[in-house]
């Protein structure tokens, strides 16, 4: 990527919204140096932790842009990025007693579970488990579910992209894929429960 010319905030947001594969990298490189300096000073962490911190922040901003939460920026993109980072710091500080995982995924889990601490604890393990099962699904299920649930594509778009006869066929396939995922997750959960019970004996 050419970093000599800085894109405007609007252009960066547009690129991400428009699924430009370079959008995420452009966003990442734009505030990287400034954020890492800030994080080291503000959170008093070391440089490596600051990078984990920054990566999680950028992914959250990217996710919020995708989810349509940033329709119109009220402030600059930089202010927004830093306020997400600051928020993560507060959340982490508040929950420090239970944190063992200090990496980008840790912050990501907090972002996915903004509810109370108790349910977060239960859901964190589940998210990892579901994510693992999801990666075992393979295509076309992996692409289909990602397109529908992450990119919010319509059944028409999915049918076209994945060569289904019509949207109805794509919808049935989506249902089957979700059933496969659900069964995989349940089997894995049963296995874990069995192991825990055996461990407790």
């Amino acid at each position: 990527m050419n970093t000599n010319t800085r894109l405007s905030d609007g252009e960066i947001v547009q690129r991400i919204r428009g699924r430009d594969p370079e959008g995420l990298a452009i966003l990442y490189e734009t505030f990287r140096s400034e954020f890492v300096h800030w994080a080291v000073k503000f959170t008093r962490c070391d440089e490596n932790d600051a990078f984990d911190y920054y990566q999680a922040t950028i992914i959250i901003v990217y996710d919020n842009i995708h989810a349509g939460k940033i329709e119109e920026l009220k402030s600059s993109l930089k202010t927004y990025v830093f306020s997400v980072g600051k928020n993560l710091a507060w959340q982490h500080k508040r929950q420090k007693t239970r944190s063992q995982k200090i990496n980008a995924e840790y912050y990501l889990e907090m972002h996915m579970n903004p509810s109370d601490e108790q349910s977060q604890l239960a859901e964190e393990n589940n998210l990892d488990l579901i994510s693992n099962c999801f990666s075992q699904l393979g295509d076309p299920c992996h692409s289909l579910l990602d397109m529908f649930y992450y990119h919010k594509k319509s059944m028409e778009e999915i049918a076209l992209k994945l060569n289904y006869k019509n949207p109805e066929t794509a919808k049935n396939q989506k249902y089957k894929c979700m059933e496969r995922l659900r069964k995989l997750v349940e089997a894995q959960q049963e296995k874990t429960t069995r192991e825990i019970n055996e461990y407790g004996k």
């Binding site: 070391d46 992914i59 249902y175 995922l181 659900r182 461990y199 004996k201």
Partner: protein
């Protein structure tokens, strides 16, 4: 329930989760879920599956950023007065700092005196896995918990016994790390090395910590060469704290 009915319910759930639902439809669905616990449970599970799919997508993006980061020039952080670690960063950050100090000692100082380095830098890894809680009777506790308790009380002999018993029932990375530490304190160096190597081989987590303490164990044996090799692994691009280790190794060329 047949497939059509099931699809119908999933469609209700997805419509309920979408932004396009009207207040009336929302109310109707909530009533339906109140009356039908099975539907409610299906809704909770479906919502979690969707979160898991979204989470998997974002995990992939984090991996992409890590790959991108490895291709970018380092960010120069101004070296000045020391910035104290905040408490919540301590265990891992301190381990990383210790690894760097030891690596630099091992690589720079000559002739290295590994045993002295070990004595200077070894501190048992803190029990962050199951800190001791007050007020619980020993009789009701598992060997695992009693092992952690003994470790917290610096009764390493007892901790080693209890951890070993606990490991017979199930392997556990946190216990292996602390067992290795307790063995190091007691001077059972080879046994400690066995614990760290098992941890590195069988688990993905606590890898950096295991390598750090394995390096320390070689120092304790006076084997600076082996210590250097293992501590250099902390500079592997895929390892935690690789950046500083890489910088250090570059400076040493």
């Amino acid at each position: 329930m047949n497939m059509e009915n099931n699809i119908q319910e999933i469609e209700w759930i997805e419509h309920y989760l979408s932004s396009g639902i009207t207040p009336e439809e929302k109310q109707q669905m909530e009533k339906r879920m109140d009356a039908d616990p099975e539907l409610k449970s299906k809704y909770e599970k479906h919502k979690l599956l969707i979160s898991g799919i979204r989470y998997a997508h974002l995990q992939d993006k984090i991996k992409q950023l890590r790959t991108l980061e490895s291709t970018l020039p380092p960010v120069e952080i101004k070296q000045g007065k020391e910035i104290p670690f905040a408490n919540f960063w301590k265990p891992l950050a301190a381990a990383a700092a210790l690894a760097l100090v030891i690596t630099s000692y091992v690589l720079i100082n000559q002739p290295p005196k590994p045993e002295e380095l070990y004595a200077q830098y070894f501190q048992p890894y803190p029990n962050v896995f199951e800190p001791t809680l007050r007020g619980t009777e020993d009789e009701t506790l598992s060997k695992r918990t009693l092992g952690f308790r003994a470790y917290d009380q610096a009764d390493y002999q007892k901790a080693v016994f209890l951890f070993k018993e606990s490991l017979k029932e199930k392997e556990d990375p946190g216990i292996l790390l602390l067992l290795g530490n307790a063995n190091l304190v007691l001077g059972n160096v080879e046994e400690a090395q066995g614990n760290f190597l098992t941890l590195i081989k069988n688990f993905d987590e606590l890898d950096a910590q295991a390598k750090l303490y394995l390096g320390l164990s070689y120092l304790k044996q006076g084997d600076g060469k082996k210590a250097k090799l293992i501590l250099q692994e902390l500079g592997d691009p895929s390892a935690t704290y690789s950046k500083k280790a890489k910088e250090l190794l570059n400076n040493l060329k």
